[in-house]
Amino acid sequence: MTAFSFSPPALLPIIVLLPLLGGIINGLIGKRFSRQVVYAVGCTPVLASFLLSVMVFQGLRGAMVTDPSAAFRFEAYHWIVAGNYSFDFAFLADQLSAVMLLVVTGVGFLVHLYSTSYMDDDPGIARYFSYLNLFIFSMLMLVLGKNLAMLFIGWEGVGACSYLLIGFWFKDMDKAEAGQKAFVVNRIGDIGFVVAIFLLLAYAGGSVDFDSLRAHFSDSARAIDHAPTITLICLLLFVGACGKSAQIPLYVWLPDAMAGPTPVSALIHAATMVTAGVYMIARMNFLFALSPHAMTVVMLVGALTAIFAASIGLVQNDIKKVLAYSTVSQLGFMVIAVGAGAFAAGIFHLFTHAFFKACLFLGAGAVIHGLHHEQDIRKMGGLKAKMPLVNITFLISCVAIAGLPPLAGFFSKDAILAETVALKPEAEKLAGYYEGGFKRQAYAQAGVAGAEAADIAKVAAAEQGIRKQYIESVEHLGMWRKVAFALGLCAALMTAFYMFRLYFMTFTGAYRGDHHTWDHAHDAPWPMGSALAILAALSVVGGWVGMPFAHGHYNFFYHWLDPVLARGKELIEGELTPSVEYSLMGLSFVVASIGVFIAWQMYGRGVSEAPARIAAGMRPVYNALLNKYYVDEFYHAVVITPLRAVSRALFQVVDRVLVDLAMVRGPGYVLVGLSHLGRLAQTGEVQAYLIGTVVGVAALAWYLI
């Protein structure tokens, strides 16, 4: 690498602030600009950020030649200093951040470009680009934050932008409410996240800086010897991740989030924001790796989400809803990965998923745009003829997400499933880590405090027992990996099926809508088309960076992330032998092919009675799937209705009576009443007042003398 004339750390704040600048300009005075100026102000900063990100990436590669664990740090100033606690306003670009940086700015720019065409008839274009730029800004804060507090700023920022963009067409009540739902559900997750940050502050030496946290939790001498505390912190962090990354039970907002403009769904609700939870867990790998129990919970929630959402996706008829449930399901895969300790695989899937899912959403947007806002796939079909470019890019990304080699999704999904069964936590090492806690427990259990030989032996025996118990409990967790693997495999099968069902119903067969729309249907204009083409190309080649055994025993993507994930890897053992790896690859391929084949049988060969027959044969199952397992209805009955009732009761009693009447109006009424009494004394007769004065003075004189 030649010498760089710039200093990469100094680029970090510029990368972050450019989109903010664009957002502010468009937000404040964008209304007065012509459309072209708004487009330019919206797109240019993101493109510039992307180019600078590439420079940072190259700089990082250069720096890694001399120092394999190099990272760029930029510390702007001390943000909050209070006692022993301190937060810096600082950026960190390590290998993980660099990957996210490229994805966010790269896909972000393509979506901006696409939007110039997709939103070309919308009057609120300045507002739209302003929100979109603010989103990119927040997302960059999230991935470049050097500590949890900075990450949290971005975390909340993307949440707010997501809310604004879901409810972008706020005159439609349903869309405004969908935005609100997303916001509220995310808040629930954020509570867990904030509490986890506070706990970390309390237990990890007063700093939530990633570098110092990692140092703290790597040093077993200083380590927390409370295994339960670490598990609790991890679970609370995961609650936050559940909200942002749409996992059970907080996934309900994501399908509704499709109310926003389609490019927004592609960028925020598929490629970037929703992966923040996965990113955060991978970032905190050094902590999660310490708690196999919490990891297992994470993995199982991911597996359940993957299969649950995939099964709903099987029968949905709205093109965006299918993709939404597919996103939830793929996020489930990523969460399986980080829960299984396959952090690199999780980030790898995040990386590839960003390309093909963004491509799918943008393709769906092109279809919707071409068909005058028709979203029901039952009214589509045969669009291959009208939209050749959209057709080919959509097909490529369908193949990629279904997991057929050699496209991106195959390698990443296969890596997740393979590592889920191959890895296991290093129970012995972990037990060594928690020694202090075991010792304390042993003393309590043995009920002695003395230093006599008999006592010491007793304590040692108790300690041995506790240690053994812990190791066994960790080893017992292994069976859940098989469960997650099985669920993941089923979800992969469903993925292949519903994606190709979507493809066949949209692009092949005969058109089922009205002729007027058909006549006006058109292929994507160039800004849309070029974004689609680039993303489709990336969906093909994106997986190759993580191809196993591509260069002997060397996987570029994993190797790249090693410095960040090293600590997590230390505590999780297991390696895939090539034979196992290849057989699992074969299994993945077979499963994906079966899914595609069934879809082709049912939807790809012209009009078929099979779907209707199967639906009729399993009416209750079909209805449950079609209605998304009635989860929304369930939440409405169990959470929302009681909450509203309690709120109403509180409003009527506490607010109306206690606050309004007793505390606000009450004193007023009392004063008015007293004033009425006082008014009686005011007769207006001067001499009456004078008598009062004289009597008063006389009384005073009497008292004094």
Binding site: Q682, T683, G684, E685, V686, Q687, L690, I691, V694
Partner: protein, 102 residues
């Protein structure tokens, strides 16, 4: 010339003061009330002068002159007020002057 005992002076002053007070409290005509106030002031003057003389001080005398001057100013302002009230209401009777009550 024998000095008038202090007790006599104070008794006279007390009588004058009470007379003025009763006048202020009972008379309905504002003019009479003002005159009664003057009587009360002069009763106080008498007390001051009496004590001054008894103790052979001069401060009381000075203060008495001071009060006479202020009383003159007060009477001027008071009479001017009465005059303008009379122009407004065509009366100087206190019972009719209860504007603030209504």
């Amino acid at each position: 010339m024998t000095a008038i005992p202090l007790g006599h002076i104070l008794t006279l002053a007390a009588l004058l003061f009470s007379l003025g007070l009763v006048g202020v409290l009972t008379r309905r005509n504002v003019l009479i009330m003002l005159m009664s106030v003057e009587v009360m002031l002069n009763a106080v003057n008498l007390t001051l002068v009496g004590f001054s003389r008894y103790n052979a001080w001069t401060e009381g005398h000075v203060l008495a002159f001071f009060i006479i001057a202020v009383a003159a100013a007060e009477a001027a302002v008071g009479l001017a007020l009465v005059l303008s009230v009379f122009r407004l209401k065509q009366t100087t009777y206190i019972d009719d002057l209860r504007l603030l009550k209504r």
